[in-house]
């Protein structure tokens, strides 16, 4: 396992050192080392095993879904009508659910990215240490609120408020859910971006100030670009969180899958559909039951793609400071 280890045992030992290291204790120590190592190895293997098991179940049930008579891969990826429950009129076109997911996540990012980045820059570059000491923990409190509370918040506060602006808003709509998800991911973006900004070496700020840059110049033209890879990964992580968010959209976005860009409409997200299936009384082996796994697999692929793109960007654009 560890060929780089120095071959301590084979090294010739002087008699004087030999008396210092009694053979039995050395033996015991080696066994202890080995025990700890195998414990750590099996812990790591266990998490790999769990991941593989989940993937296997996901893959098996998804292929079960596509094996059903009513279903075809072409329909699933090629159409946008999602109607798994309507007797003879069943349709399984994933894109309306994907569209609903991205509509909500898009609104959430539009809310959270500007607000989160400005807050992060303020906290990292402008705020007095005492202000930061108060603000940052309060943002983290925001992250600790159960998402069901955000869901109710969207349903009972945001939606009624939106309705006063426009008659067009449904009782369930994408905008209210999106705003609530945006508030949910705000602490992620703020906190991770602030970490990225603060990781920028002070020497870069000194360099900019020393050239006559104002604090604004320094923050936006030096520190922010230097932290961009970290900020991008923060945003992508938050996006993955928004795509996977379940409770808020199940409560506030509705359950009508459709392809629309109108945020006033009732929609359904992939996660929203899965909740509906898991809670509703569908038979455990019907096509609609298996469709849940196909949607889950799609969701998995999408979030995985976000994560991979995020880490690629982080590697590709990371600046190395010594």
């Amino acid at each position: 396992m560890t060929p780089s280890n120095p071959p301590a045992d084979s090294a010739p030992e002087s008699p004087a050192r030999g008396t210092l290291r009694g053979a039995p204790s050395r033996h015991a120590r080696r066994w202890k080392e080995r025990g700890i190592l195998s414990l750590l190895n099996s812990a790591a293997l266990f998490s790999v095993f769990i991941t593989l098991a989940i993937l296997w179940v996901l893959g098996a049930e998804t292929s079960n879904f596509f094996a059903q008579d009513e279903v075809s891969v072409g329909e699933f990826f090629g159409t946008a009508q999602w109607n798994p429950l309507l007797g003879a009129e069943k349709h399984f076109g994933i894109w309306s659910l994907v569209c609903g997911t991205f509509l909500v996540a898009g609104v959430a990012l539009l809310v959270a990215v500007p607000l989160g980045l400005v807050t992060a820059i303020y906290l990292s570059e402008y705020a007095h240490p005492r202000v930061r000491a108060i603000l940052k923990p309060s943002l983290e409190v925001l992250a600790g609120i159960p998402t069901v509370v955000y869901g109710f918040f969207a349903l009972t506060l945001i939606t009624p408020a939106l309705k006063t602006f426009s008659e067009g808003f449904g009782s369930f709509n994408a905008l209210a859910a999106g705003i609530a998800v945006g508030i949910l991911i705000l602490p992620i973006i703020t906190s991770l971006s602030e970490d990225a900004l603060r990781a920028v070496p002070q020497s870069l700020r000194d360099g900019a100030f020393g050239l006559g840059a104002t604090r604004f110049d320094t923050s936006f033209k030096v520190v922010f670009p230097a932290a961009l890879s970290g900020i991008t990964s923060a945003v992508l992580l938050a996006a993955a969180r928004a795509i996977g968010e379940t409770m808020i959209v199940a409560l506030a976005a509705g359950s009508t899958p459709k392809v629309t860009m109108d945020v006033r409409d009732e929609i359904q997200t992939m996660t929203g559909f899965m909740v509906q299936m898991a809670l509703g009384d569908v038979s455990n082996y019907g096509v609609e039951y298996y469709s849940m796994y196909a949607v889950a697999a799609m969701l998995f692929v999408l979030t995985l793609a976000f994560t991979l793109v995020g880490s690629w960007i982080r590697k590709r654009y990371r600046e190395v400071y010594d």
């Binding site: 100030f209 050239l211 006559g212 600046e319």
Partner: protein, 290 residues
């Protein structure tokens, strides 16, 4: 120079003291204290300067004149206030919370701590190079363009010429002329430090402050920086903090010895190293402490 440190220069009052070319009321010659008199035309005059980090006094009653167009070295044991002093000259210490300055720092006769002084303009005129090379993580070209762009739009042709001139000025052009648009972080430490000098030159400063500019470099890169300081001498007033007494002896015309926040003495370099006036200086130079 047409630039002024003052954001809005007030019209001179009646019976006012003479107004300097920079728009501020010049300090009466009689008010000036003695150290300045040694030099006909000092760049900086520092008078009774005290500096505090919170309650901790880092500089005490520093009086010093820095001659124009020459190289002044600041030496002294670590923690004696050399960097702090250097950073009072372009007000970089303003960025450290809870600091306090007392006394006067005059640049060309103007008090740079006057409340009307534009700090941004001050830092353009008094460039600074730091202990560790700190190029921005952008291209070599953009590093040099950064300072001038802060001041306003510069045409592409002018900028190209300026970049080339500054890189020549910092003795770096030949090494980087084929990769101006690659990341500055790809340069060696010594090249990065010369790039930082080039970047400072792009602002067309009068003064260059160098805080141990070679302490993170190998001997060869150090020698190049020292050569460069020799080349810049005359065109710029240079103040260099150094840990290395031989370096001070090699590059400087005047040397100031700091000890425990006080300027013990400031004399021509040759004199300092042969006939120091104070016992503390001699002890330091002969390696009895530090």
């Amino acid at each position: 120079m047409e630039t002024t440190l003052v954001q809005e220069s007030k019209p001179p009052k009646e019976k006012a003291k003479p107004v300097s070319a920079l728009g501020m009321i010049a300090v009466d010659a009689a008010e000036r204290r003695t150290p300045a008199d040694e030099f006909a035309d000092p760049s900086f005059e520092v008078q009774q300067l005290d500096f505090f980090y919170g309650d901790n006094q880092a500089l005490t009653q520093v009086d010093m004149a820095i001659p124009r167009g020459e190289v002044t070295a600041l030496i002294g044991p670590s923690g004696c206030g050399k960097s702090t002093f250097l950073r009072t000259l372009n007000r970089m210490n303003d960025l450290v919370a809870e600091t306090r300055v007392e006394g006067k720092v005059l640049l060309d006769g103007q008090d740079i701590y006057h409340r009307q002084v534009d700090v941004v303009e001050l830092r353009r005129r008094v460039g600074m190079v730091f202990q560790r090379p700190n190029p921005f993580p952008i291209s070599i070209y953009e590093n040099i363009a950064y300072g001038p762009r802060l001041q306003g739009k510069v045409s592409k042709a002018d900028m190209d010429a300026l970049v080339e001139r500054c890189l020549h000025g910092a003795a770096l052009w030949d090494e980087v002329k084929d990769r101006l648009h690659t990341s500055a972080l790809g340069l060696s430490g010594g090249q990065q430090q010369r790039l930082c000098i080039a970047r400072a030159l792009a602002n067309e400063p009068e003064v260059l402050l160098l805080d141990e500019p070679a302490s993170a470099l190998d001997p060869k890169a150090t020698a190049r920086i020292e050569d460069l300081i020799g080349q810049l001498r005359g065109d710029y007033t240079i103040v260099i903090v150094t840990h290395n007494m031989q370096q001070a002896a090699r590059v400087s015309d005047h040397t100031g010895f700091f000890y425990k926040g006080r300027l013990v003495e400031c004399t021509p370099t040759a004199q300092m190293f042969t006939r120091p006036e104070h016992q503390e200086t001699e002890d330091y130079l002969t390696g009895r402490f530090g």
